[in-house]
Point group: C2
Chain length 229, copies 2
DNA sequence: ACAAAAGTGTTCCTAATACACCCATGA
DNA sequence: TCATGGGTGTATTAGGAACACTTTTGT
């Protein structure tokens, strides 16, 4: 079925997937960027990306960016962000970029001169519209944090409440009240205490785990189901 | 600057913009669809769309859809929705669709055998993944309604509170309590009463208008500024 | 006078915020 | 014993939800 192609006309545009890769490192929210030199110009940084192949899905292309461009093989979170297609966004040629944003564990990555982390609040000089993309991705990440369980994708299986709170603080870019934070998390009914403790130089902290059986929990204002796109 | 193109490779994919056009008609939320016959197959309906031209922005392409495909020259609202790029979404050829959603005034459109409105809750047989797109657009529209001023784009300059409530009810697909609705709208401080009334067969209804000077109003939870993308 | 839509308040409950001290541990 | 991060409770406020009757008009 659907064999007629007579209506089609080629678009003559290049299609990329660029990924805004976030990671929490040194108690700060960072973005992974690639250095890109243009002849006779200052150094610019860019979001890692690839041209979309004819036989790959967009999400596959974004995973290829993570694998091939920055050597990440485990992704904590990945979501399509927005499609940037202004005619003049790349002065050389018409490129439409489907931007994704990802969350990864910085421990799993080797950085280099050419690929490194940058604090979201102190971005270097970025080429094209990539700074705009990062700012929008950060905004989206903040929103996600408030009504999805993305924070639990970022943390390991077992975590302390202080670690969880740090994730929130670093992404939202502000301090939170410890008591109110715990009250809110508990009221959501999404974490379970374990009998394990994280030992350190001071009082040990109880380790918690994210509940697996969330089908049952009905938290108003808390959107569990990933939106069907 | 940026003159080197040696990294580029063509994507060999077709790029479309398809638009999910909503309108409120007969006290119901409807989508404008085009009928599309495929040889020897049942009739399918599709979202109106065009292939993106090399020299036009994505938003320009979406406006071209409205102008050329369905003859709409006034759009109440237009926003990018999501980009659909599964390899197998069109069996003939690789097509990536940047979906937009729009809100228009049905009065301003001439329908025909080939282009007609369909209730969002009783969609006809749709080709490709277009039903999925419509459902996601509807979800997004519902969300927009709650934290933006989109409802006021839909209504004329002067409107009654009942008309405003109807917009909410039709989009959200549920009845709202009149007193709570009014309380909420008033508490937002975004509409102003006028001294005009809408006459009808019963008690006249006061006409309201959307406040123009919204820079000043700070409504918590109410997002005025369009997000910077 | 009556049918129909316009208009109006109170109570209850939940969630968000502000705020300060004791506890358990390793050094 | 002390420095440090772990852990806890209460009071206030704001917003959301449930709920029913009176008012105004045209016919």
């Amino acid at each position: 079925m659907f064999t007629s192609t007579n209506e089609l006309e080629p678009s003559e545009v290049y299609v990329r997937v660029d990924v805004c890769i976030f990671g929490i490192k040194d108690e700060d929210l960072k973005v992974l960027l690639r250095e890109r030199g243009f002849p006779n110009y200052k150094k610019f940084w860019v979001l890692p990306g690839v041209f979309v192949r004819k036989e790959e899905n967009l999400e596959e292309a974004s995973i290829r960016v993570l694998n091939e461009k920055v050597g990440i093989f485990e992704t904590l979170y990945l979501e399509q962000l927005y499609t940037y297609g202004e005619v003049e966004r790349d002065p050389r040629i018409r490129i439409i970029t489907i931007a994704y944003f990802a969350m990864v564990d910085p421990e799993k990555i080797e950085v280099s001169e050419k690929v490194d982390w940058h604090p979201v609040y102190e971005l270097p000089l970025l080429a094209f519209d990539h700074e705009k993309i990062i700012r929008y991705a950060h905004q989206r990440l903040k929103n996600k944090l408030e009504y999805t369980a993305i924070a639990f994708d970022i943390l390991p299986e077992l975590f302390t409440l202080t670690e969880l709170q740090k994730v929130y603080e670093v992404i939202l870019g502000k301090k939170l009240d410890k008591r109110n934070f715990r009250k809110k998390i508990f009221s959501m009914g999404i974490i379970e205490p374990t009998e394990k403790y994280k030992l350190g130089v001071h009082r040990p902290a109880r380790l918690y785990t994210f509940k697996k059986d969330l089908k049952s929990s009905k938290i108003p204002g808390f959107r569990w189901t990933r939106l069907e796109l």
